[in-house]
C-alpha cells in the first residue's frame, strides 16, 4: 500500500476538528437483492453534492461476483484512529472499503481509487478462510481501530454461538484471527465500539445466525432468548470485564454509539423491543465512581393499530412496535438520531445532557401502517421505514435507507417494498430537521439499500484518540 508524505487529509485528531471537514460529495450504499437468488448484491455510489447535475442519483455501481451475500454493514480500511499516539501510522490512505456479506460470510475489499465513482473489487476473502481462521461466521460491522480492522461476527460456522470479533490486517487485509482472549460468559453478539481514552470496548447482543437468518423466531422472542445485555471489555488485554443486563423483557440490544470525545465515558445503545408492551428503548451506559452502569433514558411506545393492517406476526398485538433498529450520534456528541423502522418515525434528540435526552424533531416516512410518502412523490406510498442512518461529519446532513435484513423485511413488510434513500437537513443549532425535497432516491427495482458510508468519513466511521 502506498504511503503518503502527509497524513491522509480525511484523518482528524479530534471529533471537533472533523466537524470542520468539507461536505461529502459521494455516498457509498450497500445494496442487496432481498430474494438472495435473482442477482448479485452491489455497492452503489450516490451523488450527494447538491450543486451537481446528478444530485441524489446513483452514479456508479459495482456488482459483487456472487449471488446471496446479503451485504449489510461495511467500513473503511483506515480512519482517524491512525493518528492515535501509541501506534501512529497516519500515512496510510482511507481508500478501501471492507464489505462483508452477512449471509455468505464472504468479505470483499473494494478500492475507491483512482475513480471514487467506480470502486473495484481488489480482494475477496472466501467464507472458508473466515471460518478456518476465526471460527466465526456472519461478519457484519467493521471498525478501523488502533490495531487494525475489527470485524464483528454473529456466530460460528454451524450457525450457533458464540459470536464475537475478529481482526484483519489493515495493510494486507489478511485475517489475523479472533480478537478475544478471554470472553467470559459472552455468547451472543451484534455490535461493538469503544472508548479509546478508557481502553474499553463495549459489545451488544442480537442472536446467533440460526436465530436470525430465517427471520425473527416468535418462540425465541417470547421466551426472551434474544440478546438483552451489554458487555464491557478490556480493549488492551482483550478480556471480558462484565456483563450489564438490561432485563429479560428487553430483547435485541443492537446499535452502540459511544461518545466520540475520548474523554467521555458514556454512550447509547438501542433496544428493538420490550416484551412487556412492544415499546423500544434507548439506554445510556456510563462510568461513574469507577463502575460501568446502565439506565434507560428514552422509551418509545408502540402505536395501537387495526389488526387488519398488520402483518401476521403482529396481528395478535393490535399495535405497531416502533422497532428501533439504528441510531446515530453527531460528532459533537449532542444530537442523537433514532430510526423507528416499524412505525416509520425518525426522531431527533438533544443529548447535551446524556442522562436527560430531549426530543427536538420528528418526521414520518414509510412505516408498517402509516406508509407515509415523501414530499417529492406524495403519490407513492412508502414501504419499509427509516433504518440505517448516517450523519455527516458537520452534523448538517442526515441520510437513511429503509431495509433492515431481508428475512426480517419479509416478516414485517410481507407485501414487499422498494428500496429508497432520503436526506434530511439540520440547522446549525443541531435542533430540528427537514426532509430535503430534492433528495428522494428510488433504487432500481429489486435492490434495497442498507448501510450508507460517506466519502471521507461520517459519524460512525472514525474513532478519535484526542478530545
Amino acid at each position: 500500500m502506498a504511503a503518503r508524505f502527509r497524513p491522509d487529509p480525511t484523518f482528524y485528531p479530534s471529533p471537533t476538528m472533523a466537524m470542520q471537514a468539507p461536505p461529502e460529495q459521494l455516498a457509498y450504499v450497500a445494496m442487496l437483492d432481498p430474494t438472495g437468488k435473482t442477482r448479485p448484491d452491489a455497492m452503489a455510489v450516490v451523488d450527494v453534492d447538491p450543486a451537481s447535475q446528478s444530485f441524489a442519483r446513483v452514479v456508479g455501481q459495482v456488482d459483487m461476483p456472487h449471488i446471496g451475500d446479503e451485504l449489510h454493514h461495511f467500513g473503511w480500511n483506515a480512519c482517524s484512529a491512525c493518528l492515535c499516539p501509541y501506534a501512529p501510522h497516519p500515512h496510510v490512505e482511507r481508500r478501501y472499503l471492507v464489505v462483508p456479506g452477512i449471509n455468505s460470510s464472504r468479505i470483499y475489499i473494494l478500492d475507491t481509487q483512482p475513480d471514487p465513482r467506480r470502486p473495484q473489487i481488489v480482494r475477496t476473502i472466501e467464507p472458508d478462510e473466515v471460518f478456518k481462521k476465526t471460527g466465526y461466521a456472519g461478519p457484519h460491522t467493521t471498525h478501523c481501530g488502533p490495531e487494525g480492522i475489527y470485524v464483528s461476527a454473529l456466530g460460528s460456522p454451524d450457525g450457533g454461538g458464540p459470536g464475537g470479533i475478529f481482526m484483519l490486517d489493515h495493510e494486507s487485509f489478511d485475517i489475523r484471527g479472533r480478537w478475544e482472549i478471554d470472553r467470559g460468559p459472552q455468547e451472543l453478539h451484534y455490535d461493538f465500539w469503544w472508548h479509546l481514552g478508557y481502553d474499553t470496548l463495549i459489545s451488544s447482543e442480537w442472536g446467533t445466525p440460526n436465530m436470525v437468518r430465517n427471520g425473527l423466531v416468535p418462540e425465541l422472542l417470547l421466551g426472551g432468548k434474544y440478546g438483552n445485555s451489554l458487555h464491557v471489555w478490556d480493549l488492551r488485554r482483550r478480556k471480558h470485564i462484565e456483563r450489564l443486563e438490561l432485563g429479560p423483557e428487553y430483547q435485541m440490544v443492537l446499535e452502540l454509539r459511544p461518545a466520540h470525545n475520548p474523554t467521555r465515558p458514556w454512550g447509547f445503545a438501542s433496544v428493538v423491543v420490550s416484551l412487556k408492551d412492544l415499546s423500544a428503548s434507548i439506554w445510556l451506559w456510563f462510568l461513574e465512581g469507577g463502575k460501568w452502569q446502565i439506565k434507560k433514558v428514552i422509551e418509545i411506545p408502540a402505536e395501537p393499530a387495526d389488526p387488519a393492517l398488520l402483518p401476521p406476526l403482529l396481528k395478535g398485538f393490535g399495535a405497531v412496535p416502533p422497532l428501533v433498529t439504528d441510531i446515530n450520534l453527531s460528532l459533537d456528541d449532542r444530537t442523537l438520531y433514532v430510526s423507528c423502522w416499524g412505525t416509520g418515525e425518525f426522531i431527533q434528540y438533544d443529548v447535551s445532557d446524556p442522562h436527560n435526552p430531549k426530543k427536538t424533531g420528528s418526521i414520518h416516512l414509510g412505516g408498517i401502517v402509516r406508509q407515509t410518502a415523501h414530499p417529492d412523490r406524495p403519490d407513492v406510498k412508502l414501504g419499509g421505514g427509516p433504518q440505517m442512518v448516517e450523519v455527516s461529519r458537520d452534523g448538517r446532513r442526515v441520510y437513511f435507507t429503509n431495509s433492515l435484513y431481508a428475512p426480517w423485511d419479509e416478516q414485517f413488510y410481507p407485501g414487499g417494498f422498494d428500496g429508497w434513500m432520503v436526506k434530511l437537513d439540520v440547522p446549525e443549532s443541531g435542533q430540528g430537521m427537514s426532509l430535503d425535497p430534492r433528495f428522494f432516491l428510488q433504487f432500481e427495482p429489486g435492490l434495497r439499500g442498507h448501510q450508507v458510508r460517506l466519502q471521507g468519513g461520517d459519524s460512525s466511521s472514525d474513532s478519535y484518540c484526542y478530545p
Binding site: Y86, D199, L235
Partner: protein, 240 residues
C-alpha cells in the same frame, strides 16, 4: 571524530528522535488532553525518556563490548550491513509496532518507549557515532604519543607548550579515556538529553499553544526519512 563532533552528533540525533511524533511527545500530549492538565504531559516525559535510553544503552553497550573484544572490522561490517539492510527493509515495508492502551502507568510508558525505540532501530542509528568517537579517540592517543616521542627527540624549546597542548588533548579526548562500553553509556546519556529536551519542548508547546491541528499539516512521513537515516548511518559505519 573529536569529542565535540561526537557530542554534537549525539545531541542532534537525540533531537531527531525527540521530534518524531511516534517516539513520545504525541503520547505525552494525548495523556495531557485525556486528563485535561499539563501535569500529565510533564509526568509522561521522564518515563518515556528512560525507555528510550534503555533501548539505546543496550545496543551501544553490546556494540562496545564487541568492539573491545574483536578486531575492528568484525564489528563495523556486521553493524554497517545490518543498519543498511534494516533501513532498506523499512523503506519498503513500513510496519509499525502494535500497542493498544491509553491508560498507562509510568512503567507502561517506559516499556512502550523501549519497544518503539527498539523497533525503529534508534540505538543502531547511534552505532557509527560510537564507533567513530572511539576511532577518533584512538587517533587522538596516537597523536599524543607522537608528541611525546618528539619531546624525547630533543625539541626542548617547545617542551612547555607541547606538554600543555598534550594535556589539553588528553583531557578533551573522552573517546580515548573510556572503554568502549563506558563510552556507549556516555553516548546514551548525551543522546537522551537531546531527545528529552526536544520531546519535552515540542510536547509543551503543542499542548499549550499550537494544538493538534498541526498534525494534519506537519506530520511528515518520517518513516522514509528515518529509513534513509538508517541506510546512511549504515554506509557511514562501513566507510569509517
Amino acid at each position: 571524530m573529536s569529542d565535540a563532533q561526537a557530542w554534537l552528533a549525539l545531541l542532534g540525533l537525540g533531537a531527531f528522535h525527540g521530534i518524531n511524533p511516534g517516539m513520545g511527545w504525541l503520547f505525552a500530549v494525548a495523556l495531557g488532553l485525556q486528563e485535561q492538565r499539563r501535569a500529565a504531559v510533564l509526568r509522561a516525559l521522564l518515563p518515556i525518556a528512560l525507555g528510550h535510553a534503555l533501548s539505546i544503552a543496550v545496543v551501544l553497550i553490546v556494540i562496545g563490548l564487541l568492539h573491545d573484544a574483536l578486531p575492528d572490522a568484525y564489528v563495523r561490517w556486521p553493524v554497517g550491513l545490518g543498519l543498511t539492510a534494516f533501513g532498506l527493509y523499512k523503506l519498503v515495508r513500513c510496519r509499525h509496532p502494535r500497542w493498544v492502551g491509553m491508560r498507562v502507568s509510568s512503567l507502561d510508558l517506559t516499556w512502550w518507549s523501549f519497544l518503539m525505540a527498539t523497533a525503529h532501530g534508534a540505538g543502531l542509528m547511534l552505532a557509527p557515532v560510537l564507533l567513530g568517537w572511539r576511532a577518533g579517540g584512538d587517533s587522538a592517543v596516537d597523536h599524543a604519543s607522537m608528541h611525546e616521542h618528539m619531546h624525547h627527540a630533543g625539541h626542548h624549546a617547545q617542551q612547555a607548550v607541547d606538554v600543555a597542548g598534550g594535556h589539553a588533548e588528553h583531557a578533551a579526548a573522552l573517546g580515548a579515556a573510556a572503554s568502549t562500553p563506558l563510552l556507549g553509556l556516555l553516548a546514551t546519556a548525551l543522546h537522551t538529553l537531546g531527545y528529552l529536551l526536544v520531546m519535552g519542548l515540542v510536547a509543551v508547546v503543542i499542548y499549550e499553544k499550537v494544538g493538534l491541528a498541526i498534525l494534519r499539516k506537519a506530520w511528515f512521513n518520517l518513516d522514509v526519512v528515518w529509513a534513509a537515516a538508517l541506510v546512511i548511518t549504515g554506509v557511514v559505519t562501513l566507510t569509517l
